[in-house]
């Protein structure tokens, strides 16, 4: 098809669907994101499109909220090709994720039938610290009581128990109290 024929054909297409521009999706850069992560401000690469503020963000997975680094790329479009229903979706794979939240009644890892409950780490670690402090005090008192007399043979065991508790506390402190201090749950 030569240029003239092609131009005529393209003109027919455009006349047939002048609002076809709203049926496409456009590469756009995130320039701002709402605190709740549900909306983004984007700047499309195409100069025929305006900067678009506060457009709903969709990840394709209900319950998922993602905070991304500014400058991340995704696609912008409109529901049903209607100019009053913009949205953004479909991230570039190189996007740097700052924070992910997943809100659901149940979350299963590894298997749909997974039934082991995750520890609520902050509360559990608090209880554990209290218990360890108590054990340390008890072992220390018992070690002092075993310093002489008929209980003297128990003292090495008491000292070993004290050392074990202290080493655990030290290791936990080195890990900032948690194995993964950047994973949170409710």
């Amino acid at each position: 098809m030569n240029d003239r024929s092609l131009a005529a054909w393209e003109g027919m297409q455009d006349a047939q669907d002048p609002m076809g521009a709203y049926a496409r999706m456009y590469r756009a850069r995130v320039v701002a994101q709402s605190d709740d992560a549900d909306e983004v401000d984007v700047r499309p690469d195409d100069p025929g499109l305006p900067d678009m503020a506060k457009i709903p963000l969709r990840h394709g997975i209900p319950g998922l909220r993602v905070h991304v680094a500014m400058g991340s790329y995704l696609l912008a479009g409109w529901d049903n090709g209607s100019p009053d229903k913009p949205f953004a979706a479909l991230w570039n794979p190189d996007v740097h994720v700052v924070k992910v939240s997943f809100v659901a009644d149940e979350i299963h890892f590894g298997s749909r039938a997974a039934s082991e409950a995750f520890i609520e780490g902050t509360s559990y670690r608090g209880a554990e610290d209290s218990m360890l402090s108590g054990l340390l005090a008890a072992f220390s008192a018992m070690a002092a009581a075993c310093s002489s007399g008929p209980l003297g043979p128990l003292q090495p065991g008491m000292q070993a128990a004290i050392l074990a508790v202290q080493q655990f506390i030290s290791s936990a402190a080195a890990a900032r109290g948690f194995l993964s201090p950047k994973v949170f749950g409710e």
């Binding site: 609002m19 521009a21 709203y22 025929g48 499109l49 209607s82 100019p83 229903k85």
Partner: protein, 228 residues
């Protein structure tokens, strides 16, 4: 006498032509004008008792006369608007920007409740794609009507302003004589005063959807909004 007013008292006679008035969109007129000189872009179609501001979109000198196509208003509704995005705008805000960019004016008879309708958002796209295809302002106006509410419509009025709103279907203030009636096609041919019959009115209790004034025969073809 039907004339084309150019500027001031300067005018040219119209020897033949048709004026096409749709209920939705832009009215146009295909005319043969008794002129051999260059015509200005902005003119006024003078139908005797009604003056219709318009823009010449096409003009060609043929055999001692000039054939022109007029479009109602400033002729900007076929152009691409400036891109802009809105969050929770009122229809009148979007409309004001579209019409200002197009050089058009809003009719004060537009429906106030439609203009006050709030939208979730709005994006005006100018042109897109590899071919930079422009999106006509008129098409965006139609999309704006579609989301502004059920039955919302737009058109360029005879006075050249852009009306947006819901139809009220007033009686046509014109006396007509029926020449022919095409029932299956909901159409009629009538003889009437040219300025008095407009789309969006009732003629004999029937909704006028499209009007074509034939200046040669002094007759008007009417299509009714029936079965739509």
């Amino acid at each position: 006498m039907v004339t084309l007013k150019l500027s001031g008292d300067d005018s040219r006679n119209i020897t033949s032509g048709r004026v096409l008035l749709p209920r939705t969109g832009i009215w146009i007129a295909n005319l043969r004008v008794n002129a051999t000189d260059d015509l200005p872009d902005r003119v006024v179609l003078d139908l005797g008792v009604t003056e219709m501001p318009a823009t010449i979109s096409k003009s060609e000198l043929i055999g001692g006369t000039t054939e022109v196509r007029l479009v109602g208003g400033a002729g900007g509704l076929g152009e691409a608007p400036r891109p802009k995005h809105y969050h929770r705008p009122l229809v009148k805000h979007v409309l004001a920007d579209l019409l200002r960019d197009a050089g058009e004016t809003l009719s004060p008879t537009s429906t106030a409740s439609v203009l006050a309708t709030e939208l979730e958002a709005w994006t005006t796209v100018a042109r897109t794609g590899v071919r930079s295809t422009p999106v006509p302002t008129g098409s965006i106006l139609a999309a704006l009507c579609a989301v502004a509410g059920s039955g919302v419509n737009w058109r360029v009025l005879g006075d050249g302003s852009v009306w947006i709103g819901t139809e009220t279907w007033p009686d046509a203030a014109v006396d007509v004589r029926s020449i022919d009636n095409d029932g299956p096609n909901a159409a009629a041919l009538v003889g009437t005063d040219i300025p008095g019959l407009w789309p969006g009115t009732l003629l004999g209790g029937r909704k006028v959807d499209y009007v074509c004034h034939d200046l040669d025969a002094n007759r008007t073809t009417v299509l009714f909004a029936e079965g739509l």
